[in-house]
């Protein structure tokens, strides 16, 4: 049995990431970021330049003279990821370098709040970059402050009593409104789906945006062993919908397809109850989240038809 197995080529995910995403970074146990990096490396190998504004990733990659990623990394100020990435892509083009992908890799704070202006500018100019927003739904490395991508009902250190009262800002929708060639949502619980989306993005020219859902154990207050389980529950409850938007058409991704039918979705309480940040949530807010989920699915149905 073992002989034919040894001859079969190893799957690129995870084999191609070996030696590129290196162990010993300073991320918290259970951190979603190294999981995502292994998927990036499986697609691009070391042929990528990440442009990273202030976020957890600026910290966890390590300090001079070392870093835990065998790829180009440019650390940039908070608001500038999309602008710097645009410049780097233009410079590579001038030099005739075509096999290196420029990727802006930013958190929700650096995207939905502080980076929105340069992001919108780069999208409007249709710059030839991939922008990935890894969304851990708050400013984590500065101490769990609310961002506009924090979901309704979530405790943060700046929404300490009632939790956040406003719904989550939907950045993927904002990007679709820019009319860019490719927009997708992804989740660290579905690395193969994320892989497919990056492969698709790689084959397209122009501005490509991926919104990656990334649960964070210390910030969301859960046991680090459940990072993947919680990310998966977000999809199974219908809260986080995986789709691709390309050529003016929206396609629901395979992991989310069953949940078009509301009766297949798990109750959202299953997702909320595993996380300490929703410990004090009120029934009214749960209802509000439920309504938000319904209206998101209505929007999906409209976009699909």
């Amino acid at each position: 049995m073992s002989a034919p197995q040894t001859q079969r080529p190893l799957p690129p995910l995870p084999a191609k990431a070996r030696g590129i995403v290196l162990p010993g970074d300073t991320s918290c146990p259970g951190c979603p970021i190294p999981i995502a990096f292994k998927v990036l490396a499986s697609v691009f190998g070391d042929k990528m330049i990440l442009v990273i504004p202030a976020c957890c990733t600026s910290v966890i990659l390590g300090t001079y003279p070392g870093q835990s990623l065998k790829a180009g990394v440019i650390h940039v100020p908070f608001a500038s990821a999309a602008a710097v990435a645009s410049g780097v892509a233009a410079a590579l083009k001038m030099r005739g370098i075509e096999d290196v992908q420029v990727i802006a890799w930013a958190g929700d704070g650096g995207t939905a709040d502080i980076g929105m202006a340069t992001l919108s500018g780069a999208a409007e100019r249709n710059e030839d970059i991939i922008y990935i927003m890894y969304d851990n739904e708050a400013y984590m490395n500065t101490g769990i402050q609310r961002s506009s991508a924090t979901p309704q009902g979530a405790w943060t250190t700046t929404t300490p009593v009632l939790g956040k009262l406003e719904p989550k800002k939907d950045v993927a929708k904002i990007m679709i409104a820019h009319g860019v060639p490719y927009v997708a949502t992804a989740s660290i619980a579905y690395p193969h789906d994320f892989y497919q989306k990056l492969m698709k993005a790689k084959s397209i020219k122009g501005f490509r945006f991926i919104h990656l859902h990334a649960p964070c154990p210390p910030g969301w207050r859960f046991d680090p062993m459940y990072t993947v389980r919680i990310a998966r529950l977000a999809v199974e409850t219908g809260l986080w919908i995986l789709y691709e938007y390309h050529n003016g058409k929206l396609m629901l991704s395979p992991p989310s397809q069953p949940y078009l039918d509301p009766s297949k979705r798990k109750p959202i309480e299953e997702y909320l109850k595993l996380q300490g940040r929703f410990r004090k949530i009120t029934p009214e807010l749960i209802k509000a989240i439920q309504q938000h989920v319904e209206s998101n699915w209505e929007w999906i149905k409209k976009m699909m038809s």
């Binding site: 010993g24 292994k38 070392g66 990072t227 993947v228």
Partner: protein, 93 residues
């Protein structure tokens, strides 16, 4: 095509280099439990290697999953994602 200025002597440019263990031996972060693979159960599905946030599991198509304890942070996530429950957390000696 623009003219490219050759890079100056690398030693004088403060460029970081990829290294293993940039944050030290993160295996020291484990406090009470460590993950252990039961190789008789392992189906070599690669899932633990894909998901391990410590980037310290390698799955060999013949030998199965091996954990590098120098860097394993003890998060326990591999026990949750293994479909056949081949990994379990055991007390550190």
């Amino acid at each position: 095509m623009v003219k490219v200025v050759p890079p100056v002597d690398n030693a004088k440019v403060p460029l970081t280099k990829p290294v293993e263990g940039v944050g030290g031996k993160t295996g020291l972060w484990r406090t009470m439990y460590k993950p252990v693979v039961d190789s008789s159960k392992c189906t070599k599905c690669f899932l633990c290697e894909i998901y391990c946030p410590g980037v310290c599991i390698v799955v060999d198509p013949v030998k199965g999953a091996t954990i590098n304890y120098d860097y394993c942070k003890g998060c326990g996530l591999c026990t949750d994602v293994c479909p056949v429950k081949a990994i379990s957390m055991v007390p550190e000696e």
